[in-house]
């Protein structure tokens, strides 16, 4: 008896055959596998996968002020999965109970909305303390064993989110140890591994490159989430919607219509208890390298082809690369540094920077920096970007101001007042909103022109309470969305602008610090910097 091997049906060749073959198949489900169709139309169309978060530096100030309150808010609003737990790693001698009490106190102090008793209990029950030194092998060996148990106990499917809220010097050690224990390895059937790294990411171009190398020896770039909390702020996120969700602004967003752009991040606070940290950092490293240059890149970037993380970051990177690293001559002429003296802020006398706790009496650290930068690309060539940031300034205000060009022809030559050029101001904080200034005729027989403003304020237009930037960013990291995180090449591109400034300062004689009084808008040189071009800083 002969047996015939079953003959496989011939694959369809014509479009008709293909259609008929498809008709014969079972109808596919209307939603892709792994997607919860009930989520469609809800607040979040996707919630994070079950996972264990591992927080290094859990006893530190950042964790208490920002990370735990953000996590607690996410828990309160049911944005964390039910199968979630956190291992808090620190050096202090806590156990689960005492650490939870400590966190509870912080939550009461720092949460923007207090948790009810039940939610707080549920949240704290998921926090486990694990004591150890970051450079001690036994910490990571015991952590590995603990995580294995927790995955089983909490059904977290081997998903791990590492969060480094430690001193930057500990980053390479922790990352190396994670790699040594294989905790970075993603498991085939699910089991993602991600790492969130707080700024500062390096202190110059070389150290940033070294750190990137260390991190990328262990993790792939797609697993790394470098936090710049400014990118999580509602107004900053709205900037993209404002630019690319409205048709009327983008045609004007170029050298033809824009005269110049000012970006200010002003703080009224001093260095508080962070004198030692600030002495090693300064305003350029603390704010210019990250917040200011990130804001600049968001303002100046081309529309990305999609809203995908890499499409966005590619465009931001192009902007940073279009800013030429300043020469020593450029730094001397286009960059101003300052340090605050004693003065009055909000009606209260405050001390000089050199009198602050843990600050050198002869400190040369800058608490203010302002600079004029140019983005040498087709869109922005010739348009100056004036950036400034400082501590102990007249008030806390962060703003992006796009100053449009003057009208090409003075039609109203007889008017008593010249029309002022149009201005679009995007307030990042406080009073988040957007303001557009234009000229209007003053009612009457004469022809007077007065600037008037159209003012959109978040607080009056929406009742919804905006989430804290940390809530947004932590949730995005849990969801695997890297759009609001900086990529290694972005970080390096930003350092390649800031590092030459530091190097030039090292070659200059000691600065005549202090050079501005607390409670003012910075040193006089900063005024000169912009007035040289016939312009003025905006009065905020």
């Amino acid at each position: 008896m002969s047996t015939k091997a079953p003959v496989a049906p011939a694959p369809p060749k014509t479009i008709r055959q293909e259609r008929l073959a498809r008709d014969g198949r079972r109808r596919r489900p209307s939603h892709p596998a792994g997607v919860n169709p009930l989520r469609e139309g809800l607040r979040l169309e996707r919630v994070p996968d079950p996972h264990v978060a591992v927080l290094f530096g859990a006893t530190g100030d950042l964790s208490h002020r920002k990370v735990f309150p953000a996590l607690a808010q996410l828990w309160r609003t049911n944005l964390l999965p039910a199968d979630w737990a956190l291992v808090a790693i620190g050096r202090r001698p806590y156990d689960d109970g005492t650490f939870r009490m400590d966190i509870a106190e912080s939550l009461h102090r720092n949460c923007r909305v207090q948790l009810d008793e039940e939610s707080e209990r549920q949240f704290l029950d998921r926090v486990f303390y694990h004591r150890g030194d970051f450079d001690d092998n036994t910490l990571y060996d015991s952590l590995t064993a603990k995580l294995e148990d927790m995955h089983l106990e909490h059904d977290t499917r081997s998903n791990l989110l590492f969060y480094l809220a430690t001193q930057p010097s500990a980053f390479p050690v922790i990352v190396g140890q994670i790699g040594r224990c294989g905790l970075d390895h993603e498991v085939h059937a699910g089991g993602w591994r991600r790492i969130v790294i707080e700024k500062p990411f390096g202190r110059d171009l070389d150290s940033a490159k070294r750190l990137n190398r260390e991190v990328l020896k262990v993790f792939r770039e797609s697993q790394v989430y470098r936090i710049d909390h400014y990118l999580g702020k509602e107004t900053v996120r709205n900037l993209m919607v404002f630019r690319f969700g409205n048709g009327i602004f983008e045609p004007l967003w170029n050298r033809r219509y824009v005269d110049h752009i000012q970006i200010t991040v002003a703080e009224s606070l001093g260095v508080e208890e962070r004198g030692a940290f600030y002495e090693e950092t300064g305003a350029a490293r603390d704010v210019l390298q990250n917040h200011l240059l990130q804001l600049l890149s968001l303002v100046a970037m081309e529309p990305p082809a999609t809203f995908a993380a890499d499409a966005l970051r590619d465009e931001k990177l192009k902007v940073l690369r279009a800013i030429a690293p300043p020469s020593r001559h450029d730094v001397a002429r286009e960059v101003v540094r300052g340090q605050y003296d004693k003065g009055w802020v909000a009606g209260v006398p405050v001390k000089a920077y050199r009198e602050e706790h843990e600050v050198d009496k002869d400190s040369e650290t800058e608490t203010f920096v302002a600079g004029r930068f140019e983005v040498d690309d087709w869109r922005w060539s010739g348009v100056p970007f004036y950036l400034r940031t400082g501590k102990r300034m007249a008030k806390r205000a962060s703003e992006i101001a796009i100053q449009f060009r003057d009208v090409p022809h003075r039609l109203f030559a007889d008017a008593n007042t010249d029309p002022q050029p149009n201005l679009l101001a995007i307030r990042v904080q406080p009073d988040e909103g957007i303001l557009l200034r234009f000229g209007s005729k003053v009612p009457g027989l004469g022809l007077d022109i007065r600037p008037v403003t159209m003012d959109f304020t978040y607080g009056t237009a929406f009742s919804t309470d905006a989430p804290d930037a940390y809530e947004t960013l932590i949730l995005d990291a849990m969801l695997g969305d890297q759009s609001l995180f900086t990529r290694a090449d972005e970080v390096e591109a930003a350092w390649s602008i800031v590092t030459p400034i530091h190097e030039a300062w090292l070659d200059q004689p000691a600065p005549a610090f202090p050079n501005y009084a607390a409670g003012t808008w910075g040193p006089e040189d900063a005024e000169e910097l912009i007035q040289r071009d016939g312009r003025n800083w905006r009065r905020l």
Binding site: P37, L42, N78, D155, D431, T453, D455, G459, T460, S463
Partner: protein
């Protein structure tokens, strides 16, 4: 006319303007005067001008208040939304339908200071009482008073009459209609069917407070299936049950719009089709029953009344049962004072309980939410259309 210039406390609404008119032209003239009378700027400390009042530019809100007391209740809600409320609210109350035509309008401007440094935000409120035949010609009365270029929302509290002349006149100029289906008489089912037909007839969006209030339930139910191990059960539901509050268990006496929306939402999201529409039983406490199809599986649906002190028609719990590979999943979502709680068991093994604290939303919250969510709501539209099919 009266004008208040008292300084406002942050967050506290202030009546800044009040006047009266007897004609549409008179109302329009008074509305124009408000913005001349309220000072928009004042001298700042260093000689510059500071904005002190801004008119909100969000939308027109037209409220059809069948009775005077409904108008007062609505006005109180709208005033409470100061700072983020509609630019102009017209509260229309017909009166004395058989008498001569007349119009009485009270014109008010309410302002609020969102914070110390911010400008006051103001909006206008017009109470229109329309006597005699005036009350029959709403489009001619309302249209001249709308701020052009702003969307128009018609809020119809109480029992709307979608087939009435008022509806035919007003709805073509509306972008959105707000109702509260949970307040309709009887079981509310006929209203549901009539309302589902409105988008096609008038090209309007429908927002039903009864549906909006269920957001916490939907979050809670969806969250159960966020667990990867439970998600596959969603394709294997074999029973849906909803218990609602009732007083006497007589069919048709408790409004079942809310329980119906629960089923409609699940059916719409999971692509279920109706095999047997949901119908009321004939016996007391028998509730409603129907049959859905999910793929090849038949899914019985039961809406069951339960004696409860809660208002009639309030959802007490939603129960889902699914069987997959001989494993059984049981999910029960139950309301408690300030939220809902999800209890589930897999093969009789209880899973950790999860609470969704969310205080019950007031009409003011729902109105604010609806105003802010100005865009289209395809999910809501689909749920409404599914609800209509469930009871067809």
């Amino acid at each position: 006319m009266s004008l208040s210039s008292a300084p406002a406390a942050p967050g506290q609404p202030m009546l800044r303007w009040h006047s009266r008119a007897k004609s549409i032209d008179g109302v329009a003239a008074e509305l124009g005067r408000i913005w001349k009378a309220i000072s928009l700027t004042s001298g700042g400390p260093d000689g510059d001008e500071r904005r002190v009042a801004a008119r909100s530019s969000v939308m027109n809100l037209v409220v059809i208040a069948g009775r005077g007391e409904v108008g007062e209740r609505v006005a109180a809600i709208v005033e409470g939304l100061s700072g983020r409320h509609p630019s102009r609210t017209l509260i229309v109350t017909p009166a004395d339908p058989d008498g001569p035509a007349w119009l009485d309008a009270q014109i008010q401007a309410h302002c609020v200071l969102p914070s110390d440094a911010a400008p006051e935000t103001c909006s206008e409120l017009v109470y229109l009482t329309l006597g005699g035949e005036s009350g029959q010609h709403l489009s001619g009365t309302v249209a001249p008073l709308l701020i052009h270029d702003l969307p128009v929302t018609v809020w119809w509290p109480g029992e709307p009459h979608f087939e009435s002349r008022s509806a035919r006149e007003l709805l073509p100029m509306a972008d959105r209609v707000l109702v509260d289906g949970s307040g309709w008489s009887g079981d509310g089912v006929p209203g549901l069917t009539a309302m589902a037909a409105l988008p096609a007839r008038f090209d309007v969006e429908i927002a039903d407070f009864a549906m909006l209030r269920q957001a916490r339930w939907r979050e809670a139910i969806a969250s159960t299936f966020d667990r990867p191990a439970l998600l596959p059960f969603l394709g294997h539901l074999d029973r849906i049950g909803v218990h609602y509050a009732a007083a006497d268990g007589q069919p048709g006496t408790a409004n079942v719009v809310r329980p119906m929306y629960h089923v409609a939402w699940l059916a719409s999201r999971l692509g279920m089709t109706v095999v047997e529409p949901i119908r009321a039983g004939t016996e007391p406490w028998s509730g409603y029953a129907g049959l859905l199809r999910h793929g090849r599986r038949r899914v019985p649906v039961a809406l069951r009344p339960m004696e409860s002190p809660a208002p009639r028609g309030t959802t007490l719990n939603v129960q889902l049962h699914a069987t997959r590979n001989r494993s059984q999943l049981w999910v029960e979502v139950t309301a408690y004072a300030d939220g809902v709680v999800v209890q589930a068991s897999l093969d009789r093994e209880p899973l950790p309980e999860r609470r969704f604290p969310a205080p019950r939303k007031r009409e003011a919250d729902l109105l604010a939410e609806t105003i802010e969510a100005a865009g289209k709501d395809p999910i809501g539209a689909d749920v409404l259309a599914t609800a209509a099919r469930l009871v067809a």
